[in-house]
């Protein structure tokens, strides 16, 4: 009986396997779709505007055919840097506390809270930035110095949004440091803080770096907070109290309005998208390389 079944063809099994292969292939198709969509429209754009002008010109004013990404790019970098200045220290410190110091009970309360924070939609953070953080900033620094839309409040709130991500990635890296290393240092008379700062953190360095890079990449791609709170109009400025539109904010604002396909404005959005895609992809690949490195060591 058993031998009779052995060579039997099973069309059902083949069908299932084909479907599974297709399901796995969808992700490849997605990447292909992204590359083709962004590439095609950007190609149409770069036929009109030279890439050099795109990357170096200082003005973005589609009405008068000026397509210099610099103001959008600086605003993106400014908001992301402000976000990182908050999320990086706070995320790392809370990760050290959670992995090295926190009693089990506190961990079981605080971890879910961080997860709630991470699960709140970013449009809600945008509301928070515009309605609460901006008025607070204007109270503290004065209404004439702080615009109604400003990169500062968008950056701060973005920092809060990214904090849980950085915290949980850092915690993963810290807790993957083997216990024997901690015990060794304790045996030599190190205090807890010395073990955390001088033994665990250096050992987890590549993992921590990966967390920062992923956080930065997330900040650059974050859209709704900057669309609501950072400003609606390209503005080349480094002053965080001024309004300035980021790359993502610009894409959302323009595509939300009446936009005719096959216009240069429409194509320009995809050129911005392509740049955004390349930057975030580069950062993500860098971080996954770093993660692999610390996984290999231990």
């Amino acid at each position: 009986m058993g031998t009779a079944l052995a060579g039997k063809k099973r069309p059902g099994e083949m069908m299932v396997q084909l479907f599974l292969l297709f399901a796995a292939g969808v992700s490849v198709l997605t990447t292909l779709g992204i590359v083709v969509t962004l590439g095609k429209e950007s190609f149409l754009f770069f036929r009109e505007v030279s890439p050099i002008e795109f990357l170096t010109a200082r003005k973005w004013q589609p009405q008068i055919e000026e397509f210099g990404i610099l103001p959008l790019f600086t605003a993106t970098v400014v908001t992301s840097l402000i976000a990182m200045m908050i999320a990086l220290p706070a995320g790392l410190a809370s990760a050290v506390w959670l992995s090295e110091y926190a009693p089990e009970k506190a961990r079981s309360v605080i971890k879910p809270i961080l997860e709630i924070l991470a699960g709140i939609p970013s449009v809600v953070y945008g509301f928070f930035a515009l309605q609460s953080v901006t008025p607070a900033l204007r109270n503290v620094f004065g209404g004439e110095r702080v615009d109604v839309y400003n990169t500062m409040s968008a950056g701060i709130v973005m920092g809060v949004l990214i904090l849980p991500l950085i915290s949980s990635m850092c915690e993963d890296a810290l807790s993957s440091v083997p216990h024997s290393m901690r015990e060794g240092a304790y045996a030599l008379g190190a205090t807890k803080i010395e073990v955390s700062l001088n033994i665990v953190m250096p050992a987890a360095f590549s993992g921590l770096a990966a967390a920062f890079i992923v956080g930065f990449s997330r900040a650059i791609g974050e859209t709704m907070i900057v669309a609501l709170a950072a400003g609606a109009g390209p503005n080349l400025t480094l002053n965080p109290f001024r309004a300035a539109e980021t790359m993502t904010g610009h894409i959302v604002r323009i595509s939300g309005g009446d936009l005719s396909y096959d216009s240069i404005d429409y194509n320009s959005l995809f050129a911005i998208g392509l740049l955004l895609f390349l930057i975030t992809l580069g950062l993500n690949m860098l971080s996954s390389r770093l993660v692999r490195k610390y996984r290999e060591v231990y």
Partner: protein
């Protein structure tokens, strides 16, 4: 002496340790404080005093009783209400309203609402948040009396049954989230139907079938990289592929053309009006967006199933798919479902991709099928938040509360589901 020096330095070292651990704890606290502030500032906007101005005062339109006092609108019956409508609205408007739903058949409550909206035409002068309303009541009343003496101050809870049952309106007092809730719901159900089988299938393929060769390694790296692509890029993908390239399919024109010989002309017209900016396009886009998360999570769940379980299945002569379907999947389903719910709640909250795929900015009709135009809760929140008037801030906050309640109930459903699967497995 040496010993005392050492102990002093030890004390210092411990003090350093305490300072740092306090710092670490403070950072963790910062996250909690931010969460609380965020929730408080949203809730703060959902109730408070509102100063409303009417284009005609109520006393001018209602009939008087025997003593010459005006009868309040609330105590009038259908007949009286209908005569008010007759007197104050133009014939054309009356006909239009009658066409929507015959006036005679409407309930007194509906008629009152209609009179308020069409005749009295209230508009918000200013609204205050909850904290202001509680703390500085006197100054609010004083301000109102000085600025708009004929206006009326009412304390309003912005989340109400009428907020849930009304559709979008240009007047914040009558705006609601019904079509947005329906849109969110339909979009997400369709997203799950598309993404769940694909995500699970890909995970099964990668964990159970794929050999460790170059192609499969490429697929794995690719999925990891996709999970880091900003959501707005998925929106551009959706716009380029689903909305434009596949417009005949996603707008439903293809299907209505087939049945055009029949009486489906209105359907076709509706489909053409929607072009590719439909619920179907939005769902396809969101499905691709949450797919990497789904796959990675399901992979981990499948990987956690012990090898011995599979071997015992094979030993009894089961085929590969039988082992997967009857043993591996049931014992990893709780984890897979939990991860799915997490991914789906991320999908519900997504805004940017849907703006690109073309969520309608102003939609007063409910979505009727997968080829209708749509709006979702996050889109409504985005639009209302970006309006400068304070009353739109209030309804944006109210919509946020609705969204968060939706997300929370989804997550608790996931926990219940997971526990059910777990207890089944133990039996």
């Amino acid at each position: 002496m040496n010993a005392s020096f050492q102990s002093a330095s030890l004390r210092e070292r411990h003090r350093n340790g305490k300072i740092f651990s306090a710092l670490f704890f403070a950072s963790t606290l910062f996250a909690i404080v931010s969460l609380v502030t965020l929730l408080a500032s949203v809730l703060d906007q959902t109730a408070g005093w509102v100063l409303i101005e009417y284009s005609i005062p109520e006393a001018d339109i209602v009939p008087s009783d025997d003593e010459g006092n005006p009868i309040p609108l609330a105590s009038l019956e259908s007949e009286g209400l209908l005569s008010i409508l007759d007197e104050n609205l133009g014939g054309r408007r009356l006909k239009a309203l009658d066409l929507e739903k015959p006036l005679a058949e409407r309930s007194p409550g509906d008629l009152r609402e209609l009179i308020i909206a069409e005749v009295l035409e209230p508009s918000v002068v200013r609204s205050w948040n909850f904290a202001e309303s509680m703390l500085s009541r006197e100054s609010i009343f004083q301000w109102a009396a000085e600025t708009v003496p004929e206006g009326s101050l009412v304390f309003r809870w912005w989340i109400s049954s009428s907020f849930l049952s009304h559709s979008q309106s240009s007047n914040a007092l009558f705006a609601g989230v019904r079509s947005a809730i329906l849109g969110s719901f339909m979009t997400i159900v369709l997203t799950i139907l598309i993404a769940f089988p694909l995500g699970l299938g890909a995970a099964i393929y990668l964990e159970e079938y794929a050999r460790d060769n170059r192609i499969n390694r490429f697929i794995k790296t690719n999925i990891y990289n996709l999970s880091g692509v900003p959501s707005i890029i998925y929106g551009m993908l959706g716009l380029g592929i689903f909305v434009r390239f596949m417009a005949p399919l996603t707008s439903g024109a293809l299907f209505s053309a087939a049945s055009a010989a029949g009486d489906s002309v209105p359907l076709e017209a509706a489909a053409l009006a929607a072009d590719g900016r439909t619920i179907l396009s939005a769902s396809l886009t969101l499905a691709l967006l949450i797919l990497p998360m789904l796959i990675i999570n399901a992979q981990e769940a499948i990987r956690a199933v012990p090898r011995t379980l599979r071997e015992s299945g094979y030993a009894l002569g089961a085929t590969r798919w039988q082992v997967i379907f009857h043993h591996v999947l049931p014992s990893s389903m709780d984890r897979i479902l939990t991860g799915t719910v997490l991914a789906v709640s991320r999908g519900i909250g997504e805004t940017a991709p849907l703006v690109l795929v073309g969520a309608s900015t102003f939609l007063t009709q409910d979505p009727t099928g997968i080829f209708s135009k749509f709006t979702t809760l996050p889109i409504q929140i985005y639009q209302w938040t970006s309006r400068p008037q304070s009353e739109f801030r209030n309804i944006a906050a109210a919509a946020i509360v609705v969204l968060m309640v939706l997300l929370m109930s989804l997550n608790s459903a996931a926990i219940i589901l997971r526990n059910k699967f777990r207890s089944q497995r133990r039996v």
